[in-house]
Amino acid sequence: MNKTVLAAIIVTIAMLGFTYVAVGSAGGMGGEGDWVNKLAVLGAVVLVIITSFVVTKYVRQMQNDTATGKLAEENWDGIGEYKNELPFGWAVIFLGSIVWAMWYFLAGYPVNAYSQIGEYNEEVKAHDVKFEAEHKNMDPETLKEMGGSVFIVQCAPCHGLQADGINGKAANLTHRLDEKSVKHVINNGGNNFKTDYPGGMPPMLLQDPAQIDAVAKYVASGFKADDAAGKAAFLAGTCNTCHGENGEGMPSVAPKINGFDTAMVTTVLKDGKKGAIGAMPAFNNLTEAQVQALGAYVTDLSK
């Protein structure tokens, strides 16, 4: 075999191999039946192969052929010009591509009545149908797993991969409340969760700094039964009338404050939250299943 052809084959194989390994190792994205991924890789493959072999064809002509033809009369700065015919393959493909383009634009495309939004709607529907079919009744473990995957994409940029709030930049979700947040809400009240708790929480139910400190410690450390001072201050502030004896919350009155549950997370996602730590945006374009999954996942974090 000719050296050049061999070189072309080697180049092709080397590049394909390299591409295959690298793309494959980036997370095994065969793209299960997804033709966009396949077409892209195919495009890259075709590109390397066609270029290598077409160029090899001409290199071989440089090696073995000789220049012939009738020269034109003119000549520019010593450069002559042959009156050779068009390379046959080129001419045919050029003509073919023009015919194809006209056909496609005038007939092929209008007949398909393609619309990118239509295609999008179909794509989304296909996903929904598949989800319904495969995950209609998820067990709690799977739900949590799904929540984790949504969390990494949507929530980790603020709460961190460990959900620890990245040094206080957002809420630490492995623990329901810190003292700072409790004090903040006692002093300022709160009305973030307008949908679920339209009344909000009034400010200044406690004013004595010592009492506030005590409640903050009590709530933040998770309603420890042996913290009598804390408990007393909690009752003094009438907190229990809304949040319940142990901070378990009451529907439509006040949220759970002794830990996370799905209702609490749902509320935060629906209305967002602005508190002592900062502001959390509302997430209204999550699906119901995703919200449930996040609820399960976040609740599990502090367990």
């Binding site: 590049m15 390299f18 591409t19 690298a22 793309v23 980036a26 997370g27 793209g31 966009v36 991924n37 077409l39 892209a40 890259a44 075709v46 590109l47 270029t51 077409v54 160029v55 290199v59 002509q61 440089m62 090696q63 073995n64 052929d65 000789t66 033809g69 020269l71 003119e74 520019w76 700065d77 010593g78 450069i79 002559g80 010009e81 042959y82 009156k83 050779n84 015919e85 390379p87 080129w90 050029f94 591509s97 023009i98 383009a101 496609y104 634009f105 495309y109 393609y114 990118q116 996903h127 598949k130 989800f131 799904m146 995957s149 990494i152 994409v153 980790a156 940029p157 299943a289 999954a293």
Partner: protein
């Protein structure tokens, strides 16, 4: 008269050769810095926190693109015009005092624009439109520079002795007209200082077009800036320098003709491929896709014509690094003009758009084709304008291999990066949720960004070798006689 060799005057050509080399180095140095910044963000502050405003990736990126396009490439186009134009029209610039004076003015104004561009981009004065970042005062200066070039072209043509125009001249004329039209329309903007009665920054302007329309005009421009900046004038170069250096006649006039008019006709329609799946109407996007595929043929026509011109001349390719540069350039030209249409297919673009695969496509074109061809042209010109042989052939060979390796590292790494990134963005997990957070798709690219940076650095090293070789040619190459300059350029060991 007809028989006495003409004394061509290369004064202006030399000036633009200088800026080609200098701005090439500056532009690519900035490119290399960008590449390292993406691989290692600490490089953003390498010159100190205090000047990070001027050295960080985002402030420097437009400087890179504009320095290599409007600095390096356009200088190369001007330099070769001032050389090729005289020779194929058989007329010397020395024959017209007017053209000589205008040529020098052309260069002086060009320098002024370069300074203004560098200064304003570093200060962050930009309109944000890619490859059209300049504010209106610079636009006006650019138009003046361009008009002067037009006067040069048509002035020289006006006093030509060669009745019929050589292929290269067709392409130079098209470059002039194409860029003129595109630049004017894409830069329609209203200076706010005047419109508001003297408030705010005097140089600030607002685009005449908004939103989707602005995008449409921008990419009609952007795509064709590639056409008339990175393709048409470079084809002009190869049509002159390859046959001239090799002493071979152009393979086929018919092919030259069809490829030229085909390119002119098809190119403009393809701009829509930058706007696939955007808010531009479907039919316009489809038009962009379809014409992109057709565009393969007129593009390949010129490349094939050049490769066939070298039919039976393999010994020249093997022996001359100068011809190697040009043959590899046509190969990369074919490569990127097949790659582009593949990326223009809607389903491929769904993955490729916004990724590094596009950056890979850009650089196999510009490094492998544009820059190789410009450097080859300058190598061929040097012995003729300095009357000295090229200082070192082995240095040229070294440069060729270093830069080839650089290009290969650049585009292979960006391919993999781009396709990986594209797939990860699209990937859904078993629940139909996104499988990767955005940052996952960033960190995975680190090795490829590093390889690209290495490749780019190699290419830059090649640029320094090039500059050194040119400098030595100019100052200490062996003096040569006119008779040695017919075809193959004389080269020292």
């Amino acid at each position: 008269m007809e028989n006495r060799p003409l004394e061509y005057d290369y004064t202006v050509a030399k000036m633009f050769m200088l800026t080609t080399v200098l701005l090439g180095i500056v532009g690519m140095l900035v490119g290399v810095i960008l590449a390292w910044e993406l691989a290692f963000p600490a490089v953003n502050t390498i010159a100190g926190q205090g000047v990070a405003e001027y050295t960080n990736f985002s402030r420097l990126r437009p400087l890179h693109t504009d320095a290599v396009i409007f600095g390096f490439t356009v200088s190369g186009v001007f330099a070769t015009w001032y050389y090729v134009g005289q020779r194929v029209l058989k007329v010397s610039m020395a024959e017209s005092k007017f053209l000589m004076a205008l040529g020098k003015l052309h260069f002086a104004l060009y320098l002024l624009v370069v300074v203004a561009v560098v200064g304003s981009l570093l200060l962050g004065i930009t309109t944000s439109k890619e490859y059209a970042e300049f504010e209106w005062p610079i636009d006006i200066a650019i138009v003046v520079v361009w008009v002067i070039w037009g006067l040069q072209i048509f002035g020289l043509i006006g006093i030509r002795r060669e009745k019929s125009l050589y292929i290269s001249v067709w392409y130079y004329i098209a470059t002039f007209l194409g860029i003129a039209m595109l630049y004017l329309f894409n830069n329609m903007e209203i200076p706010t200082y005047f419109a508001s009665g003297g408030i705010g920054a005097w140089y600030h302007s607002v685009s005449m077009y908004s939103g989707t329309n602005d995008a449409l005009v921008q990419w009609w421009y952007g795509h064709n800036a590639v056409a008339f900046g990175f393709t048409v004038p470079i084809v002009a170069m190869i049509y002159y320098f390859l046959p001239k250096e090799s002493g071979q006649a152009v393979y086929s006039y018919k092919l030259s003709l069809l490829a030229f008019w085909g390119l002119m006709f098809v190119y403009l329609w393809a701009g829509g491929h930058h706007l696939l799946f955007s808010t531009v109407p479907d039919w316009m996007q489809t038009m962009g896709s379809v014409f992109s595929v057709v565009l393969i043929l007129p593009s390949w026509g010129s490349a094939i014509n050049m490769l066939l011109t070298m039919k039976g001349e393999w010994q020249q390719v093997a022996a001359s690094p100068l011809i190697k540069f040009m043959i590899l350039a046509s190969t990369f030209y074919m490569f990127s003009t097949l790659e582009g249409p593949i990326q223009a297919i809607k389903s491929v673009n769904a993955l490729a758009h916004f990724t590094d695969w596009i950056v890979g496509h850009v650089h196999d074109g510009v490094l492998g084709w544009v820059a190789f061809m410009i450097m080859a042209s300058l190598f061929h010109m040097a012995p003729r304008v300095f009357k000295r042989e090229i200082y070192s052939k082995s240095l040229m060979n070294t440069q060729f291999w270093i830069q080839t390796l650089g290009v290969v590292l650049y585009f292979t790494s960006m391919w993999i990066a781009g396709i990986t990134q594209g797939m990860m963005w699209r990937a859904h997990d078993e629940f139909g949720n996104l499988a990767y957070s955005f940052i996952d798709t960033v960190t995975v690219l680190h090795p490829y960004y590093t390889i690209r940076a290495v490749g780019g650095t190699l290419y830059l090293v090649g640029m320094f070798l090039f500059a050194y070789n040119m400098y030595k040619t100019m100052t200490s190459g062996r003096r040569v006689e006119e008779s040695e300059l017919q075809n193959a350029s004389p080269m020292g060991a």
